[in-house]
Amino acid sequence: MTIHASRRDVLKRGGALVVSFSFAGASGETFAQGAKPLAITEVDSFLAIDARGVVTVYSGKVDLGTGVATALPQIVADELDVPLNRIKLVQGDTALTPDQGTTWGSLSIQVGGMQLRNAAATARAALLEEAAKRLSAKTEDLRVVDGVVSAGGKRVSYGELIGGKSFALKLDHAKPAAGKDPKGYKVVGKPVPRVDIPDKVTGRFIYMQDFRVPGMLHGRVVRPPAIGATLESVDEASIKNVAGVVKVVRQGNFLGVVAESEWGAIKAAQRLKASWSKSQMLPDAAKLWDEVRATKVVKDEVTSNVGNTAEAVSQAGAKTLNATYDFAIHTHGSIGPSCAVAEFKDGKLTSWSASQATHNLRKQLATMFGIPADNVRCIYIEGSGCYGRNGHEDAAADAALLAKAVGRPVRVQWSRADEHGWDPKGPPTLVDLRAAMDGANVITAWESEFFIPQQTAGSFLVSLVAATLAGMPAADDIAPGNIFQNSAIPYKFANIKTICRRLASTPFRPSWIRTPGRMQNTYANECFVDELAAAANADPVEFRLKHLDPNDKRGIEVLNRAAALAKWDKRPSPRRDQRGEVATGRGVAYCKYELTRTYVAAVAEVEVKRSTGDIRVTKFYLAHDCGQIINPDGLRNQLDGNVIQTLSRTLIEELKYDRSAVTSLDWASYPILRFPQIPELVYDLIDRPNERPWGAGEPAAAVVPSAISNAVFDAIGVRLRSVPYTPDKVTAAMKGAA
């Protein structure tokens, strides 16, 4: 058989290439912004049950590859007593889903899931009340199985009770409806297989990068060769030989091409000749930390203040310890570069993207184009994992700008260099720490200063590249995320002062990358605690336990369980019994996330090659308490991600740049961890079904850099205080110590 299929044929036929959105059997087109309840105080914003009993869950929190598209329905299934396969999930569509905030900060289950649980519990109570009337029974005598309520031999289904009608019930998330007794859960707490995996392993899953709409063109951006460069001229004749070019779009310093085919757009973007002004706005990379230290401080935020540290430090006989830690600039490094589709029609913009914050993106696009937010609809489609605010929103702005310019839907796919070069970065972090110790090795003071960029305004809107380049309206916020978190410490010393010195600027447009601030701050804190333990000649686990709040039983338990899991070798660090080429060591780290939630403790085992400075992490143990576990297999999968991704960041990753722009524009110049470097992973999951669930997408990442640095110290007696721990730095540290 011979199939004739040109791109045009496929588009014409629709079918495989064109996806249409359906909502409760209707076309998505009929649901304009504002037609469906969206307030988080309404049951109807979260849930709808049709006549067949199919439950549609509307979630503002989206699945970024974390498995919440399975876990969130698990929560609803148990609370409503409906089977999982009768639940449909709609995610991140500003016309359909409530604004539950950005999908970040390990809050999808903790906040998003609990709002859904509240909505489901409220809906169930109302359904049972109605069923009791219909069945002439008392509510306590009702049984619910798979969405069918029965009593005294009579039955009525949810579909019959509510089918297609609205609940019109209010929600108060501060006082949630009484949910089920966790003993009655059938799917919560179970390792339910993820709903998306069969399609993902057979090529059936539609990622953002696969999404197409009829009549769509392909766009590519041509970014300036230097940050801050001005576009001087464009030679459109340079691409006259590229077939299918529709338009070269130039607006201010924004430059892009639109073509009939994707390959045409790629070739046009590669070949288009443009001249740009010179620009050297970036600091000398070799002097980054001097630059950070010299940056104007706009605000000092004291994040904890106990006693009087200055007095304790100047106390006669006090021994002081000082250390400075730094953490490199990182990129998100999604395997699939950012992608978006946009369509302008009758003054209204529809934007499809993998944005983790479609409600925020809607506001930003409305501002950028000077149109009312009601005329913008942003729809989430899962893309390649983003690990924070990467380039998805920027691609959405690029696509919208190009779509407006050509009057047809445009898909923008970033290149690898666009992604590495232009996604916002995790800002450089510099931390000074000081402690005082009395003659009896008692820690009398802890002081720290975190040099981190400010957060302007409370909006957390990371500026859009296209708006900036094109000179279009935008709120030019600096938005690195809540990076002050975990600057304060979980340990009880007599005098403590921790300060975030907020910097006026940072070299690259900052944003949040997995465990933002919490990772960098915990790294410095947990390494420095280890330094204190060593100075006090104490076992690092015992030293921590001694200084934790004795009333914080869960913290103490998680640390003890990590030590037990790793068969912790109790003794002060470093080991002094090794002379050979390969030295081994073990290190511990502990974190209570944001000092309010998920507890995690880790033990890393490492091998260090003395001649080369190579670090191999051989085993990584984690004890993890995030309260009620919704899906233990999903949790383990997330822990793998936390550990492995952070090992990569800790051991290898560092953005490279010259005075003009990012120079690490591919995987050769910005390498990440590969299979042969993966350690054995061992977990102890502490399930607490009667506690509220907390997040798990980030906390375990917080302990990785410090556990490794502490293990290296144990092995070779040298402190690593600069992430990444490259062989060069290890070798230099050994020379410095010798």
Partner: protein, 155 residues
């Protein structure tokens, strides 16, 4: 200049219309044939997300010009390897091990592993890791991917 190009994809002869004979195979598969298994990751043969089989060998479709392929060479994508109803053992193992996070790299992991297992029957874990050393995953699914490949090897 639009021209016709014949290919053999997933067991069928297909003819596509292209402007550039040197267009990489990836774009023919994704844009002309609407296949979603092979993915664009880097365009530089560095990450492996675009991997397909050509005559049974794993190749990076993002750097394979159409002009290098004949109509007889058998191109197989993730869709052709197995379907939800008739899963390839490697696909089945990835489901059983739940070896996916975002899944964007998984096409490459499965295609690379499937080709590897046809030439290495009882691999060690270290051999699997070496075979996948040039496939990148950002989510940190590596440990499960290795388990899935070992499971498929034992199937």
């Amino acid at each position: 200049m639009a021209q016709r190009k014949s290919l053999n994809v997933n067991g069928k002869s297909v003819q596509i219309t292209i402007d550039d004979p040197d267009m990489p195979l990836l774009y023919a598969l994704r844009d002309n044939l609407a296949l979603h298994g092979p993915r664009f990751g880097c365009g530089l043969a560095q990450c492996g997300a675009c991997t397909v089989h050509v005559d049974g060998k794993a190749v990076r479709s993002c750097v394979t010009p159409l002009s290098s392929l004949t109509a007889q060479q058998k191109v197989v994508t993730l869709e052709g390897l197995g379907t939800p109803q008739r899963l390839h053992p490697v696909q089945r193992a990835f489901i059983e091990e739940q070896a996916v996070q975002c899944g964007y790299c998984i096409n490459g992991m499965i295609m690379e592993s499937a080709a590897f297992l046809t030439r290495t029957k009882n691999p060690t874990e270290a051999q699997v890791k070496d075979a996948l050393a040039n496939n990148l995953c950002r989510c940190g699914t590596h440990a499960r991917i290795v388990k899935a490949v070992m499971r498929a090897a034992g199937a």
